[in-house]
């Protein structure tokens, strides 16, 4: 079976970095609210980022399921990838929480 790019180590790494970035952004907004308010475009930026992060959350479902099917339901025996997928699922929970938090940071 031909391996898709979705289960390449480099893609898994990229995926984790994206998830971590979203989580760190939400944590920064939550903890340094007063500093962020100084910059007048922050609300607009948060609004745009929210929609991008929301889409990433939705696309992640498809990507993660494809990755699970390709790694757990095939002859791929790489332990590293199996663990990495679980780590990415945990980060994905963080992303969903971060999106919920961001939605409270701008006016609809």
């Amino acid at each position: 079976m031909k391996k898709g790019f979705l289960i390449l180590d480099s893609f898994l790494k990229f995926q984790s970095i994206v998830y971590l970035f979203i989580i760190i952004w939400a944590v920064l907004i939550a903890n340094l609210q007063n500093q962020f308010t100084v910059w007048k475009y922050i609300e607009k930026i948060n609004k745009i980022l929210f929609f991008i992060y929301f889409l990433i959350g939705l696309v992640s479902v498809i990507i993660l399921i494809i990755q699970i099917l390709k790694i757990y339901f095939s002859s791929d025996n790489s332990m590293k990838r199996k663990v990495w997928i679980v780590a990415n699922i945990l980060l994905y929970y963080g992303v969903l929480s971060a999106v919920f938090y961001l939605s409270a940071q701008f006016r609809f």
Binding site: I29, Q33, N34, F36, T37, V38, K40, I42, E43, G57, S60, V61, L64, I65, I68, L69, I71, Y72, F73, I85, V86, I89, Y92, Y93, L96, V99, F100, S103, A104, Q105, F106, R107
Partner: protein
């Protein structure tokens, strides 16, 4: 071994899909909680001292969560875009002696004002209900 691997895969697929019941639930988005006012450690200390002093003769709770605290309120305040400033509300639960509580409020109002961001609030508004009375007392301090 293969069966175990498949079961694990199945659990992982479910664990990815389950949060979507929350994420794509319109009711949850509609009901998201507005950000509450979170007091600074210093303000909390002052309020605790005030509460302890009042509670030598009463048994009250002091709440300040019901204040304007959203990120955009402070941003608009910084940029002078607000039409009017909000009051900083301090809600004290039911009290027995009006004059005693008033004295304590007069004593602690300047300390509270010092600890909050006064630039973004107009006045301090203290409200409390007197036991046995229907009315809610409240007064404003500039």
């Amino acid at each position: 071994m293969k069966l175990f691997k498949n079961i694990l895969g199945g659990i992982l697929v479910i664990s990815v899909l389950l949060p979507m019941f929350l994420f794509l639930n319109p009711f949850l988005w509609g009901m998201r909680r507005a950000p509450e006012y979170i007091a600074s450690a210093k303000l909390e200390k002052v309020l605790q001292r005030m509460k302890d002093e009042i509670n030598t003769h009463e048994n009250v709770e002091i709440d300040i969560y019901n204040n304007e605290a959203s990120v955009w309120y402070f941003r608009d305040c910084e940029n002078k875009k607000l039409d009017s400033l909000s009051n900083f509300k301090i809600e004290i639960s039911e009290v027995k002696r009006d004059s005693f509580v008033r004295k304590k409020i007069e004593k602690y109002a300047p300390l509270i004002k010092k600890e909050i961001d006064c630039k973004c609030y107009d006045s301090l508004v203290f409200t409390y209900k007197i036991k046995g009375s229907e009315f809610v007392s409240g007064f404003k301090m500039k």
